[in-house]
C-alpha cells in the first residue's frame, strides 16, 4: 500500500478546545478522494489517536467523519481542564503536532 505524509494530503491540521474539558483535533483534506479512501478503510480510529497521544482509548471521546468538509474530527478528554493549575495550553491550540508526522495510506 502506498503511504503519503498527512501534511501532503491535508490542508488543515489543528487542535482547539471544545469547551474547557475537551480538546478537539480537525484534519481537513485537500482532495475529497483521499478523504473518501481513508473513510472507506476507517483509517482514523479511536485506537489510532490514543496511540498517537499516549492516552487510553476511553479518553478518546469521538472520531467523526464529516463529508461536507472532507474532514475528520477527533475529540479527547483534556489531561487538565483549560486554565487549571498545571495546564500548559489554555486555548488548546498547539496540541496537533503528533498528527504532523503521520503517514496515511492513499490510493493511486
Amino acid at each position: 500500500m502506498i503511504e503519503a505524509p498527512l501534511t501532503d494530503i491535508a490542508a488543515v491540521i489543528r487542535s482547539k478546545n471544545a469547551g474547557p474539558y475537551e480538546l478537539t483535533l480537525d484534519i481537513m483534506f485537500r482532495d475529497e478522494k483521499h478523504y473518501r479512501f481513508l473513510k472507506q478503510i476507517n483509517y482514523f480510529t479511536r485506537e489510532l489517536f490514543a496511540g498517537l497521544y499516549g492516552i487510553s482509548v476511553e479518553n478518546i471521546l469521538k472520531v467523526v467523519y464529516f463529508d461536507p468538509a472532507s474532514a475528520v474530527k477527533c475529540t479527547l478528554v483534556r489531561p487538565l481542564v483549560s486554565g487549571s493549575i498545571g495546564d500548559s495550553d489554555v486555548y488548546g491550540a498547539q496540541q496537533h503536532a503528533p498528527l504532523l508526522f503521520l503517514k496515511a495510506p492513499v490510493t493511486d
Partner: protein, 452 residues
C-alpha cells in the same frame, strides 16, 4: 412572517477584535435588518469570569461599539450584543453598559436599551442540585453542594426566549449577559417566524464573523441573509469568500461533533444540511433542523478560586545542565518544599522539552539545545507565592549539580525583577446543564432610556 428575507450584519468575531470600516460600510449599504455581535468565549480560561474582568480592551470595545451603535440608530434597526464583557456576569455587563452610556453622552445619542442578566444565585443552583436537575457536561465531573458554595461566580447561557421578551419592549439596543453564541443573530428572525434550525445555524456561523470565510478572519464583516428554506453568506470584504467547504468546515470549529450541536432548549441537527455555491463568493445553506429538547436545559458556567500565582522566567543553555534537567528540577523542588514547609503547587514548565504538550508529548526524550523555563508557584496568598517562587528561583540559580563547570549561575533570567506576582488564580468548577421549567425565569430584563 413579516418579510421573506432577514439580513443580519456581523461585524466581528468578538466585540473588541475590530473590523475594517470599509467592510462595515458596505454592509450598512446593503440595509441589514439587524446588527449583532458576540462578545464572549470560555476559551481565554477561567480567570476572566472569576475576576469579573473583560479579556478585550476597553478602547477596542468602544471603537467597535461606536460604529455599530451609530449605524443601528441611523438605520433604526436593533443592535444585539451577546455575552457582554467576555463572560456575561453582572460585572461584565456593567462594564459594557458604561461604555455604551459614554458613547451616547459623547455623541448625543438617545435610545431605549434592554439589559438581560445571566447570573445565577448559588441558592438557585443548590435547589436544582437537590432536585436532581443538574447534570455534568461530560467529561466535567459531578458537582456537590460544596462545589456550588465555593464558586466565585456562576452564569447561565440564555437561549432565545429572554431576548424575545426583551425585544417585545421595543429597545434599540439589547445587551445580554452570558448567552448562547448564536442567539443575538437568530432571536429576532425566529420572532418573525423564520425557521429556528436555519436561524441558529446562521447564528453559529455569524458569531465567528469571517472566520468561516476563506481566507478566514476574526476581524472582518459578514452578511447573512435568511430565507424561509435556506440562508446565504457573503463576505463584505472582496478579498474573502464563503465557499461550501469553508462554510461546512466551520461547523467543526471548537465543537466535539459537527452533526449535533446542543444548545439551550434543543439541538441543531446538521445530518441533512446542504452547502451549495451560489457563485464564486457566496454560499447557500439549507436542511439544518432544530430538535427541541424536553426538559429545557441551560448550561451553567462557574469558577472557583484556587490561590495566588507567582512566576519567574529564565533560559538554560548549558548542555551539562540540560542533560540532567529533570533530576535537578526535582531536587530544587524538594529543597524548596523542605526549607519552607510548603506543600502547595510548585511547577516547572520546561520549553524545549514538554512545556507545550505536557503529558500528551510523544517525544519525551528529545531535548532542544536551549530550554525555556517558567517557575510557577500557587499559594494561599500572594506574599507566600512570591516568597516560594523567589526561593525556588535562587536555589536553581546556584544549584551545584554533578559535573557543573559553569559555577556563576544556572539561569539566564529574562527580567529584572526576576519574580513576577500574577495575582488571583481561578479554575472552572461548574460546567453543567440545569433543567429549567421556564427558559426566561433565570434572566431578568431591565429596560432604560440611555442619553436622557
Amino acid at each position: 412572517m413579516k418579510n421573506d428575507s432577514f439580513k443580519v450584519l456581523s461585524p466581528t468575531a468578538i466585540l473588541g477584535y475590530g473590523f475594517p470600516e470599509r467592510s462595515f460600510v458596505r454592509g450598512i449599504e446593503k440595509r441589514p435588518d439587524l446588527i449583532a455581535v458576540d462578545a464572549g468565549s470560555t476559551d481565554p480560561g477561567p480567570y476572566y469570569l472569576g475576576a469579573g474582568k473583560s479579556f478585550t480592551s476597553r478602547s477596542a470595545v468602544k471603537r467597535d461599539l461606536e460604529l455599530m451603535l451609530g449605524a443601528a440608530l441611523e438605520l433604526s434597526i436593533p443592535c444585539i450584543i451577546g455575552t457582554a464583557g467576555g463572560c456575561g456576569a453582572r460585572e461584565h455587563v456593567a462594564w459594557t453598559e458604561a461604555i455604551i452610556q459614554e458613547i451616547a453622552r459623547e455623541k448625543g445619542y438617545r435610545f431605549k436599551m434592554a439589559v438581560i442578566y445571566a447570573d445565577v444565585a448559588k441558592a438557585e443552583v443548590l435547589r436544582a442540585l437537590q432536585q436532581g436537575r443538574v447534570s455534568p457536561l461530560h467529561p466535567a465531573p459531578h458537582i456537590t453542594a460544596e462545589d456550588v458554595e465555593n464558586s466565585v461566580r456562576i452564569v447561565a447561557q440564555m437561549g432565545a426566549e429572554p431576548v424575545f421578551k426583551a425585544m417585545e419592549l421595543g429597545p434599540q439596543i439589547v445587551l445580554c449577559g452570558r448567552c448562547y453564541d448564536p442567539v443575538p443573530f437568530a432571536a429576532p428572525a425566529i420572532m418573525q417566524g423564520f425557521d429556528p434550525g436555519l436561524a441558529y445555524h446562521l447564528g453559529k456561523i455569524l458569531e465567528c464573523a469571517a472566520i468561516a470565510a476563506t481566507p478566514g478572519s476574526g476581524r472582518d464583516c459578514v452578511m447573512g441573509t435568511l430565507y424561509p428554506d435556506s440562508f446565504e453568506l457573503e463576505s463584505l470584504n472582496e478579498e474573502r469568500k464563503f465557499t461550501p467547504t469553508s462554510t461546512a468546515a466551520h461547523t467543526l470549529y471548537e465543537k466535539s461533533d459537527p452533526f449535533h450541536l446542543p444548545g439551550p432548549g434543543g439541538t441543531l441537527d446538521l445530518s441533512a444540511t446542504r452547502f451549495e455555491a451560489l457563485d464564486e463568493r457566496r454560499t447557500r445553506v439549507s436542511g439544518t433542523r432544530f430538535i427541541p429538547a424536553d426538559p429545557y436545559t441551560v448550561k451553567l458556567e462557574g469558577v472557583r478560586r484556587s490561590g495566588f500565582r507567582a512566576i519567574s522566567i529564565g533560559g538554560i543553555r548549558d548542555p551539562i545542565l540540560i542533560g540532567q534537567i529533570d533530576s535537578v528540577l526535582t531536587e530544587v523542588k524538594d529543597q524548596t518544599r523542605e526549607a519552607l514547609g510548603f506543600t502547595d503547587p510548585i511547577l516547572f514548565h520546561v520549553y524545549g522539552k514538554d512545556g507545550v504538550m505536557g503529558k500528551l508529548e510523544p517525544e519525551k526524550n528529545r531535548l532542544a539545545h536551549e530550554l525555556g523555563l517558567v517557575i510557577e508557584v500557587i499559594a494561599g496568598d500572594q506574599e507566600q507565592a512570591n516568597a516560594v517562587c523567589s526561593y525556588a528561583r535562587s536555589t536553581l540559580l546556584h544549584y551545584g549539580y554533578p559535573g557543573r563547570i559553569s559555577t556563576a549561575g544556572n539561569l539566564a533570567l529574562l527580567y529584572s525583577p526576576s519574580d513576577i506576582p500574577c495575582g488571583d488564580v481561578f479554575e472552572f468548577s461548574i460546567y453543567h446543564l440545569m433543567e429549567v421549567a421556564d427558559p426566561e425565569a433565570l434572566f431578568p430584563i431591565e429596560i432604560s432610556e440611555v442619553g436622557l
